[in-house]
Symmetry: C2
Subunit: 264 residues, 2 copies
């Protein structure tokens, strides 16, 4: 059941009404915690519940915390390069060192800005290393090593608990080229295809769409961010009413291969 993209027989072009529902009441997440269990309980307690074919959008940070993807700055010995660059821009050299360790490649270094390609192939600031919304001083949060696998485990965990087939998107807040500000995008996907593929279909005027695909998973991640925010400790949202065909799928499909990328 490997579906690279959603094709016409599987996707709904224009969805009916969607509801974007915040899931409040998830407690502080610690390494080893049962995230599907915490999400199920919070959704039930908040009255939202989880229904068949809901899409669960989950902030990367709680996934990383549950998986123990945390580093204490006190444990980090910075390299000469990390010290040099950190000193130049008034940064903590241990933080820079963790960023460099998470990076597969530096894509750009600007004034105090480090854009890196992560081991997953994501291009983002600081290789996804972040100190916000983490308990404890001097703790950094890293991206999960395999966010698609993390998402798949949550799909399975929800099915085991509730018998419901859901899509799961793990989201993070990334900047973009050319545009100010940030949006949430998908870094992990399971249970659904991340891309809706119109190539070869015709529009209502008979014009053949030759390149149009839509990154459903990224649009769903952004929509969910609106109810999650950055301060309110709402790390999960449910998108209800999004019609999709359960399928294998992954956020890897959203990573442009370097040889196809004019901006890497």
């Amino acid at each position: 059941m490997v579906v690279q993209h959603q094709r016409p027989e599987q996707f709904v072009d224009a969805q009916a009404e969607l509801r974007i529902l915040p899931v409040a009441g998830i407690p502080e997440v610690h390494p080893g915690d049962d995230l599907p269990g915490l999400i199920t309980k919070a959704a039930q307690d908040s009255g939202t519940g989880i229904q068949q074919l809901d899409v669960l959008v989950i902030a990367q940070k709680v996934v990383s915390k549950a998986e123990g993807c945390l580093v204490s700055l006190a444990s980090v010995e910075p390299s000469v390069f990390a010290r040099t660059w950190a000193e130049q821009w008034g940064k903590d050299p241990r933080h820079v060192e963790v960023v460099l360790r998470e990076a597969a490649r530096i894509v750009r270094m600007g004034p105090g800005i480090l854009i890196a390609e992560t081991k997953h192939g994501f291009v983002c600031a600081n290789a996804g290393v972040d100190a916000s919304n983490v308990a404890g001083e001097e703790m950094l949060c890293l991206l999960p090593p395999d966010p698609d696998a993390s998402a798949a485990r949550i799909v399975d965990g929800i099915r085991e608990r509730l018998g419901a087939q859901v899509g799961v998107i793990i989201s993070d807040t990334f900047g973009r080229a050319w545009r100010e500000s940030h949006t949430n995008i998908a870094i992990g996907v399971a249970g659904m295809a991340p891309i809706r593929d119109y190539v070869g279909l015709s529009d209502p005027y008979g014009y053949e769409l030759r390149v149009t695909t839509i990154a459903d998973a990224d649009e769903l991640a952004g929509a969910a961010e609106l109810v999650m925010g950055k301060i309110a400790k709402v790390p999960v949202a449910i998108v209800r009413g999004f019609q999709f065909t359960p399928a294998e799928g992954s956020a890897r499909q959203l990573v442009r291969a370097p040889e196809r990328d004019l901006f890497r």
Copy 2:
């Protein structure tokens, strides 16, 4: 009442439930048509209506059609450069010529791919020139010359008709660096701030957010795309329940200045 970004006293960190409602029944749009009138009627006929503080997301194409931003290929005499490149990649030289006329600058030329900066500062494929969802053979659709002004006229038009204050986002489907596929983003905004600004606020753990801003307008445009699609002729969606403070705002605020852009 110029608000660059939404600041804490004006924005809601994590929204309550959002509804994303498609507005079906908008007829084919022609140059000179009264778009606020067509949208109001379709929203009323579909039972959705338009309410105070709804956000209307409107596909660029119907805005461009109403404003007559259409070019017939028959009227276009291609330049030598357009002919050369078109021949190399099997494209229509008149189409390439229109793209070049719409471009302020070419950002990248890849194999059959032309990424341009538009006169508005948007970076996108083919300077936003598109042949899909346009009536008539050999017609191209251009971006509106000032999409923020287009959005502001629609805000005014809705207020005049219904007395309702709404936010308006004009959206288009753009590719991205580093990631496959496309998402809808905001090319015009009015009636609301496009960006939610957390800089200087603290997260629940006391960590000061130093760079976090969220492009609400882009996330809303992407959310709305999910119910608009590409084939079903649903060019308008309403986001209901998004709490915002009416404000001047523009999509220009989302354009990164070239001197701040590491990827242009």
